[in-house]
């Protein structure tokens, strides 16, 4: 047997890392997946190979995040490895060693936003974003990237990081935020003023099955991708839409996941959530690997799989059809979503870090620049007592935005414990600590 497409697996189960012994994100999580993959002999299939993860560096992480007070205090080596596993996946695909890659790594990342005061939704750093920024730095030919997030939870972290980015399309299919953590991800969240329409949220009702998710894929996601014409497609492959998942309410199956990946044909898959570690993950991952490799997956099934039992309510089907029509209409009319031009746009938001019980208030300013994506200024204060200023100077920034960004960075004398600057074009990440004598800030 030979894979139709050469496929690389980066398997890093982190058997010595957990949030706590009984937390869903625990050492045992990928144990049965590894058993299944080994027993099925997937790694012996010609054209499917396993690779060792890279280690993401502090610089790789700074390309995405303002870690407060610094990268070292926020992460553990497990994060360097799981983000490094994603970078390895990208390296393999972009150097042509494989055509598809799957980073089966943990801990996950899609709830981590640009500013990191702590961990939320089991995530500390956004491993896909670290990978995407590594790609843009090292492979400038890859200009347009689409991230399709099929985790059951809205990827609010990835949405936050790419909210203003006109070159990265973020699409999330998830269980409706009115019924599940993190409570966001509605169609009205369609991206910032400089990138309107390039965030696409498709919230599905509880008990959506294979039929509904695949409908959304074929009738909303794929047509949008056809339009956007990305150079690279990434799937945030959470596996918690599964009918056996203990913390969600959907009815997706291993067959559905495999079909989804066959249709979407992502270059890179990154594991996100998925906590039915015995009943779902072994079968879902086997299905995804086969689909990526272009092999027949139709005989993969959970031991208790019964398509009749999982049949979707006709009302759910109807709801999803209408929703997808609206989403597509909105996408096609995305130019009309652009607000009238202004020198600056502002927004405020509250963020809660459930894993670490930290509350944060953010005030964000973006330059309404007609020439480039626009410099961004984030003023963030957390219940830890830490207040920081983060300045993001995007790729292809114009001279005006560049000098604005450096002014923002250099201005503060006090107020902030730390000031950060991300200069994406120069790949330089600066930080300074104006209240140098405040011992509490770095403690």
């Amino acid at each position: 047997m030979r894979a139709k497409r050469k496929t690389g697996l980066i398997f890093f189960p982190a058997y010595d890392w957990e949030i706590s012994p009984t937390h869903p994100e625990r050492k045992e999580r990928l144990l049965y997946t590894q058993d299944q993959v080994l027993e099925e002999g997937l790694l012996d299939i010609e054209g499917i190979d396993e690779f060792k993860a890279d280690l993401a560096t502090e610089h790789d992480i700074q390309r995405v995040h303002f870690c407060v007070p610094d990268v070292e205090s926020r992460i553990t080596p497990s994060h360097n490895i799981s983000a490094g596993g994603c970078i390895k996946a990208a390296r393999l695909v972009l150097s042509g060693v494989v055509e598809r890659a799957f980073a089966l790594v943990r801990p996950p990342g899609h709830h981590a936003m640009r500013v990191v005061h702590g961990s939320r939704g089991f995530c500390t750093i956004n491993i896909e974003a670290v990978m995407v920024e590594w790609i843009r730095k090292n492979h400038p030919g890859i200009r347009r990237i689409a991230i399709v997030d099929t985790d059951c939870h809205h990827g609010d972290g990835t949405q936050d990081i790419y909210w203003h980015d006109p070159d990265v399309l973020y699409i999330s299919i998830h269980q409706d935020g009115r019924t599940l953590y993190p409570g966001s991800g509605f169609p009205s969240e369609y991206g910032g003023p400089q990138a309107p329409g390039l965030t696409v949220n498709i919230p599905l009702p509880p008990m959506t099955g294979d039929e509904g998710i695949l409908w959304a894929l074929e009738n909303a996601v794929l047509p949008i991708l056809d339009d956007f014409k990305p150079d690279l497609v990434v799937n945030s492959a959470g596996q918690d839409n599964h009918y056996t998942d203990p913390i969600t309410n959907m009815s997706f199956s291993a067959q559905g996941y495999a079909r989804l990946n066959e249709l979407l044909a992502p270059h890179i898959c990154v594991l996100e959530g998925g906590y039915s570690i015995e009943g779902a993950l072994p079968y879902v991952n086997t299905g995804i690997i086969l689909a990526l490799a272009g092999l027949d997956y139709t005989s993969i099934a959970e031991p208790d799989y019964g398509p009749e039992r999982l049949r979707q309510d006709p009302e759910v089907t109807l709801y999803i059809k209408r929703l997808c029509e609206q989403i597509l209409l909105m996408w096609r009319a995305r130019d009309s979503l652009r607000p009238p031009s202004r020198p600056y746009f502002e927004r405020s938001k509250s963020i809660y870090y459930d894993t670490d019980s930290i509350a944060e208030r953010q005030h964000e300013t973006i330059k309404g620049c007609p020439h480039c994506p626009g410099a961004v200024r984030i003023d963030s204060a957390a219940s830890t007592g830490r207040r920081i200023l983060g300045v993001h100077l995007p790729r292809r920034a114009c001279e005006a935005c560049r000098s604005q960004a450096y002014r923002w960075y250099e201005e503060p004398r006090d107020t902030y414990g730390a000031v950060y600057l991300q200069d994406m074009d120069k790949d330089e990440f600066l930080s300074r600590y104006p209240k140098a004598v405040d011992p509490a800030f770095k403690a």
Binding site: F12, P21, R26, E50, K52, L55, P77, I81, S299, Y305
Partner: protein, 552 residues
């Protein structure tokens, strides 16, 4: 005194070792009468057979039977349940799929159907197969389906091989291949073991008999008759174990390079023990679960054909066209280059004439051209060794600890064996930038390796305290365990069981059991702990028998 006998397709070699020295060696042609060949070679040793305390055989007969397709026809009966279609892994002419499914924790979720199994077996029997292999997916977690099938069909066949008895490792397709090959070579092995027994009787040797396995260890005749698949690919193991024995250094990390006529095998030795292929070796293109030495083969040897390709280009191998020109062969070879350089004593004139056209093609004199040949060959070996090492060191790891503290192998010397070893020593040393040791008696390294290798075995334990179940496929253990069992208790239980049932594993020497893999996972369902999932792998420390090791 101990004997090692290597029965190859062409030659049978024997060596006798006593008190840490090679007492004598002998060589004879392998004839169709194996009893005669083995008796002859022992006779050639000129020793007092009554003093022999141990005899170990290594043979390529099983390998040849597979490669030449001269093995028995065998049928396969497999159950899989959902997952990849087992038809993708069909081996042999009679491959039958039956119902039955077991999951990763060893829980049955579809039963075996008696009539279905019986019908499949009847069909295989009617086709004339004397034996059958039985494999189910996840049988190493729960062998009950394989056992049930064996019970249903037992009377119909001369021999039935069950997948879980061959290896405790996961990998259903490899389990199918290993079981199939094991069944296929059973009659060949049976004849071989019988012939050896007769030869021993004829020579008056009453010592225990052992057979060399692909991992460089040995096992008893009884175990070899049951698990002959382990002897397949013991060829490289024999000469490499011999090289290690003769080398004498038992610490540090070294390349071991065996230069043959057609190919050069390269392995790595750590503290006197060769590196093992983690997943199992491939035999005739079939990937198996058989533990074997991890080696890479590069298609250059002393007799490889040399082609000058113009513009300074030079290709060596992979073809071999018989003997080197300096020994009367048709084509220029590295041995001819060595003859021109004065290292190899043979017909140097013939060597020069054979190399001349190539030298002209690249615009060199014959002497410089010969130097270039040796240089190029050494570089090929170096490149292969380096990429092999990079592969070994690039293996994926699954814990943060291993990721941050990688176990990187850095060989600091080369053990060089095989025909032209002495002649290439300096060139290899210069090109690889490492000291090279060519041990004495390298010509009988294969028989010597067999003579001196210890018996080895490995067991796999899987304990699930929620299900209160322990399975050790290699020892045939399936037992209830207390919910409170922990990893230390499991390891102790494994080591005890290994000692108690050493004979069934083919172990005879004293052995040090060492735990080579251990893990324990707390199983959490909902938000409470329901048990532990523990995995332990124990092996006996491989190496050389005491008779050799205690003396310098």
């Amino acid at each position: 005194m101990v004997l090692g006998i290597d029965v190859g397709g062409t030659h049978t070699d024997a060596v006798c070792v006593d008190k840490g020295t090679v007492v004598s060696s002998a060589k004879t042609l392998t004839g169709s009468d194996l009893v005669a060949s083995i008796s002859n070679v022992i006779e050639g040793l000129g020793i007092d057979c009554r003093k022999v305390q141990r005899v170990t055989l290594s043979t390529t007969l099983c390998t040849n039977a597979i490669v030449e397709r001269k093995h028995a026809p065998v049928g396969m009966i497999c159950s899989a349940g959902p997952g990849l279609d087992p038809a993708l892994f069909a081996v042999g002419p009679y491959f039958k799929r039956v119902s039955g499914a077991i999951d990763h924790r060893g829980r049955e979720f579809a039963p075996i159907k008696r009539e279905e199994v019986w019908d499949a077996a009847q069909e295989i029997r009617k086709a004339g197969c004397p034996g059958v292999g039985v494999v189910s997916k996840f049988s190493v977690r729960n062998p009950s389906h394989e056992k049930a099938v064996a019970e249903i069909i037992g009377g119909l066949f001369d021999f039935v091989c069950l997948g879980h008895t061959i290896s405790g490792s996961l990998n259903f397709p490899r389990r199918i291949n290993s079981t199939y090959l094991n069944a296929a070579v059973m009659p060949v092995q049976e004849r071989f073991v019988k012939s050896v027994g007769e030869a021993m009787d004829r020579m008056g040797i009453r010592a225990p008999l052992f057979f060399l396995k692909a991992d460089g260890g040995t096992y008893t005749a009884e175990a070899a008759s049951r698990l002959p698949v382990e002897t397949i690919l013991s060829g490289p193991a024999a000469s490499m174990m011999g090289g290690i024995a003769l080398d004498g250094v038992r610490s540090g990390c070294a390349f071991i390079v065996d230069i043959g006529g057609t190919t050069t095998d390269i392995g790595v030795v750590v503290n006197g023990v060769p590196l093992i292929e983690p997943g199992g070796v491939a035999i005739d293109g079939l990937k198996t679960l058989v533990r074997g030495m991890r080696v890479t083969s590069v298609g250059v040897g002393g007799d490889s054909v040399i082609n000058a390709t113009g513009a300074g280009g030079l290709a060596i191998g992979p073809v071999r066209e018989g003997l080197p020109a300096c020994l009367g062969g048709p084509c220029p070879t590295p041995m001819d280059a060595l003859a021109v350089l004065g290292a190899f004593r043979a017909d140097a004139q013939a060597a020069r004439s054979a190399l001349e056209p190539g030298a002209k093609e690249v615009g060199m004199d014959v002497f410089s051209f010969s130097q270039k040949v040796v240089e190029t060959m050494s570089h090929r070996i170096k490149d292969a060794a380096e990429s092999f090492l990079a592969d070994v060191n690039a293996h994926p790891v699954y814990t943060i600890h291993e990721m941050l503290h990688p176990d990187v192998l850095v060989p600091d010397r080369v053990i060089l064996i095989g025909g032209p070893a002495d002649l290439l020593k300096d060139a290899i040393s210069r090109v690889m930038g490492l000291p090279v040791h060519v041990p004495d008696h390298a010509g009988v390294a294969n028989a010597l390796g067999a003579a001196l290798a210890r018996t080895t075995a490995q067991i796999t334990l899987h304990a699930d305290t929620e299900m209160k179940r322990l399975v050790c496929p290699e020892l045939g253990i399936e037992q209830e365990i207390p919910r409170t069992m922990d990893l230390e208790e499991l390891k102790a239980l494994g080591i005890r069981a290994m000692a108690e049932r050493a004979a069934s594993l083919g172990l005879a020497d004293e052995f040090d059991a060492q735990v080579i893999e251990e893990s324990t996972f707390t199983m959490v369902r909902g938000f409470s702990t329901v048990g532990k999932n523990m995995r332990v792998r124990i092996q006996t420390r491989p190496g050389l028998i005491r008779e050799w090791e205690v003396l310098p």
